[in-house]
Symmetry: C2
Subunit: 238 residues, 2 copies
Amino acid sequence: MTDGVFASPATVEDPDALAATEQAQGDLAVSLREMVDACVRTRVDDDTLTAVAQEVRTLTQRLLVRAQSEPLGLETTSGGRLRDHGNPMAGMRNPIAPPLAVTGDTEGTMSATFCLGAGYEGPPGCVHGGMIAAVLDQVVGSAPARVGRPGLTAYLNTTYRRPTLLGIEHVARAWVEEVDGWKVRARGDIRDPQGRVTAEADALFVVPRWAREHLGTPTGDAGGVDPGDTAAHDVATS
Amino acid sequence: MTDGVFASPATVEDPDALAATEQAQGDLAVSLREMVDACVRTRVDDDTLTAVAQEVRTLTQRLLVRAQSEPLGLETTSGGRLRDHGNPMAGMRNPIAPPLAVTGDTEGTMSATFCLGAGYEGPPGCVHGGMIAAVLDQVVGSAPARVGRPGLTAYLNTTYRRPTLLGIEHVARAWVEEVDGWKVRARGDIRDPQGRVTAEADALFVVPRWAREHLGTPTGDAGGVDPGDTAAHDVATS
């Protein structure tokens, strides 16, 4: 699956109001991303840490005054697409997400530029191996959508060639290798600014049964990935 | 590599004061973990979202009054161990981390119980495939330490057997399959409460050259993993 692949069957009553809400939701996530990074790096005294934690809890209560108990799932956005804004790699409402903004070129190659900071550290100075796999799962998992087969990961084989450094811009790319009915094999890699591959992945994605009916009746644009058509998405990646 | 494998060569001047700091740092991370979850689920109005975001930015500035620019790396804890408290899967100072508390049994099997919420969602209601790979990288990556060979991930092959559901306690386990000099092959899986495997991994870890000298001269406990001996670790997982 990938973010924004499907046009939503739901009607958006007031797209302008929804766009404003997306802007506010995305901005809150941006502010929390910055705080997560500061939480890892801060060296303030214990009293300040304790006071800030108390204020964070008060703010959390303000957010929970009205909140859904279940996770976010897929939402219809102001742009009329189904998006998973809670996604921990690409979701504009998720402070855990870098977030990755995956775009496609005319050849069908998907790509995302990213730069991970202190919150993603595994070996000193380097991106955590699991986070590297997560970046690849998200980016490589977006490739099958280009051939109309957005699926769930069946396997993800990640090979680490050299350290992926924190604080440096890398590019993750992905492309389809083979389509076999509802199964799509795709590959991808991460390259450093010198163009060296730091990690690569070979993965298989399978369209779940419950989604096949929808895909079996093409909706016109279900096979395309829009390169970020909503205001909210722009907020999250600006 | 894994958290707390090595006794630190540094001396802790005042372990009690350091333990208090760890407690405050860990508690701040706990409070932010809760806020990340609320950020994804909240349905409050735009004005509240904007006001909370502004307050978050003010709190972040309080943390940045004194902060290191570089990521956390390895730190000597009050328990005299080297720990990566910034680790995005296991780090007690990292709000992104569930956090995973990996412990080992007498047979050498490593395990961690975890339950992931709204912030880790991929397919609706399910844990993101990349986050599953990240859990496995962390837990399977802890197994080589049991044979004195804590290494970096060379490859991580993850196979997804069935959805790993959000909000449900799962157990990740790992064990060493084969040791070949500085290379260790390890495997692991994630099981749901019914004992069904939801995902499994086959991985290779290699001890980097710079760490071999240290491991080549055993420090007595470098090959063991303590099951969470610091007060700070207890805070993070309570």
